[in-house]
Amino acid sequence: MGIPIESSPPPGWEREGIDGLLGLFPPGRLSEVVGSRSSGASSLLLALIARITTAGGQVAFVDATDSLDPDSAAAAGADLSALLWVRCGGRLRVALGAADLLARCPGFALVVLDLDDLGPVPASTCIRLQRAVEDTDTILILRVARHREGSPASLVLTTRRLGPQWMGLRPLTRLAGLRSEIAITRVRISTLSSPGRGQGEGHWAVEWSLQDVPSGAGCAGDRRGA
């Protein structure tokens, strides 16, 4: 009698997709998404924006470095008309001011302050932002490249790059996506726990696939080699 063989995830990895992960962000609290370049942090934010906007919620995105790609957001499923995009042109103080204004405007389901490697953000500013959304239904997310000690974030998710996924053997033919690991590194809410795991131990392995969005080409609608 043969023994069924199936690939099993490494210990500590959840396999139920990112739906459970996206539901972790607590309303009325400051959360932090930490990740270096090509770690999947931006993809995680776009997935959350798509989930909220398709449910009818409104999202404000404070883009400190003007790096949001609306094509990627649309490919992820976001309703762009429900997205307020504030481009700050690399000005940290402007971005913090804009986030403060939006956090105090009730009605947004999600306010994202995407700083990437801009910073550092004073802890007092984070506390001020945290206070602004207290007792509201707004999810406030700070996306940074490096976690700063003393942050008042109630939930900190860290994304880590596992490696790209290519299509084709050598020579490679195209980029298929990126595998990354997302881990809860801090939880300060008693009601929040990662599914099936103890607090602070949740890990997710996510495969972010590159959508075939034609970024170019009247003459080449598909990304084919020239």
């Binding site: 090509s38 990627s72 008309s81 939006l102 009605g107 490696g163 972010w208 590159l210 009247g218």
Partner: protein, 437 residues
């Protein structure tokens, strides 16, 4: 017996807004304003202006004196008066009880009926109101319902609806005299806040909202400081109005001592909207308006809005449209934005995890070492290193039919530190377009 006069503007000298109404009001106390004409109650005016032809000529003369010409029709119903004015030569008087005969040759297109009924009557071969009036009412009701019967009554000159008399709208204006004068913005805002509160209370009592504000500050030296603002959405809350007035006056304060203030409001009918308990919350217009104004002041007017995908294949072809969350309601779709996304770049459909690109705006110049036709090393102000894997080139081009065609070759590469980025070569230089994240 009712007698209705119809004042129909005659091309090409169309009247300015409100002028036709003023001509009618100068001759009759009961006037109804329609979309293309004005009706007046012509009954009982003989003692003032003489018989109906004299009244009609007097109306035409009054309009000519105002600088435009009109046609006048007088009949027993509105429709007959309109048809008489439209088909007659300047002045047309329909004798009492002669409406049906006057309407009989008129085309059905003059009847105020739905598109569906008009199509049905046309399929039946009906062309004139007389043909519709001659149909048996019972059979018409069985086939066209109540609307068909109503149309037939109109075609027979039987209009049961009385004139909907025009009434002047209330004036929403508050004024304050300041005996000692106001020098600082704080006391001025206190006065304006109190005036806004009274005006909003009057608006709310009539089910109206403020669609625009105008203020005039009379200064001690006799000059006047005037200003106006139009909120993005009609407002009824005095707090929001006061906040907007404060922002406007902070940006352009009066240059002198203020002796008197006049605040006028342009009213509009407040749209009634029933929110659903199951709908997600959205920003209150009151807060959003003030927040958007502050954001624009903070980051600039061209840096805030809803992203829109332009109808182009050029990389990073995006724009910023107006952010209007009020138009988003479950079950209804927002009107498509001009130059918005094409279907293949569709949005709003939840998909699996999608890899995002973080763009560099503008793309960063890069120095790329190429070996055997493939990039092997990257150096730029943003990032750099040895390229360990890469795919490409993907040639993209477009707008070759315009004076400004574009073309570039794109590469997806992995650096030695694991960073995934997109490179582009536009034929003369390498650019770092963005980083996959």
């Amino acid at each position: 017996m009712s007698r209705i006069g119809c004042l129909l503007p005659e091309a090409p000298s169309l009247p300015p807004p409100g002028a036709l109404l003023q001509v009618a009001l100068a001759h009759s106390p009961r006037v109804e304003e329609a979309s293309t004409c004005v009706y007046l109650d012509a009954a009982g005016l003989e003692g003032l202006f003489g018989d109906e032809p004299t009244l009609a000529e007097r109306l035409r003369a009054a309009a000519l004196a105002e600088g435009f010409s009109i046609r006048v029709g007088v009949a027993g119903s509105r429709l007959a008066a309109l048809v008489a004015a439209r088909l007659g030569a300047g002045v047309a008087i329909v004798e009492p009880d002669g409406d049906a005969a006057a309407l009989a040759p008129a085309p059905l297109s003059l009847l105020p009926i739905s598109e569906e009924l008009a199509t049905r009557l046309e399929r039946w071969g009906l062309r004139t109101m007389g043909e519709l009036a001659a149909l048996p009412t019972t059979g018409l009701f069985e086939r066209a319902g109540a609307e068909g019967v109503r149309a037939q009554r109109l075609a027979r000159g039987d209009d049961p609806r009385p004139l909907s008399a025009w009434r002047p709208g209330p004036v929403f204006e508050e004024s304050v005299e300041c005996e000692w004068g106001l020098e600082a913005l704080g006391p001025l805002m206190e006065r304006l806040g109190a005036m806004a509160e009274r005006l909003c209370a009057r608006l709310a009592a009539r089910g109206l909202a403020a669609d625009g504000f105008e203020w005039t500050c009379r200064l001690a030296d006799g000059r006047a400081h005037e200003g106006a603002l139009t909120p993005a959405v009609p407002l009824t809350e005095s707090g929001a109005v006061t906040a907007l007035l404060r922002l406007a006056l902070e940006g352009r304060p009066p240059r002198g001592i203020v002796r008197a203030i006049v605040l006028r409001v342009r009213p509009t009918r407040a749209a009634a909207a029933q929110e659903s308990f199951t709908d997600p919350s959205r920003p209150s217009p009151r807060f959003l308006e003030a927040t958007m104004n502050r954001l624009v002041a903070l980051v600039g007017p061209d840096r805030v809005g809803a992203p829109t995908l332009l109808d182009s294949h050029r990389p990073d072809a995006v724009g910023l449209g107006a952010y209007a969350p009020l138009s988003l309601r479950r079950g209804t779709s927002a009107p498509p934005r001009r130059g918005s996304t094409s279907p293949h770049r569709g949005e709003g459909r939840v998909r699996g995890p999608v890899l995002a690109l973080r763009r560099f705006r503008p793309p960063a110049p890069a120095a790329v070492t190429v070996a055997s036709g493939r990039p092997v090393a990257l150096r730029s102000s943003r990032l750099g290193g040895r390229i360990v894997a890469g795919v490409g080139p993907w040639r993209v081009s477009g707008e070759w039919w315009t004076p400004h065609p574009w073309l570039q070759d794109e590469w997806d590469v992995e650096l030695a530190d694991g960073t995934l980025c997109r490179l582009a070569h536009d034929g003369s230089a390498w650019l770092l377009a963005g980083v996959y994240d």
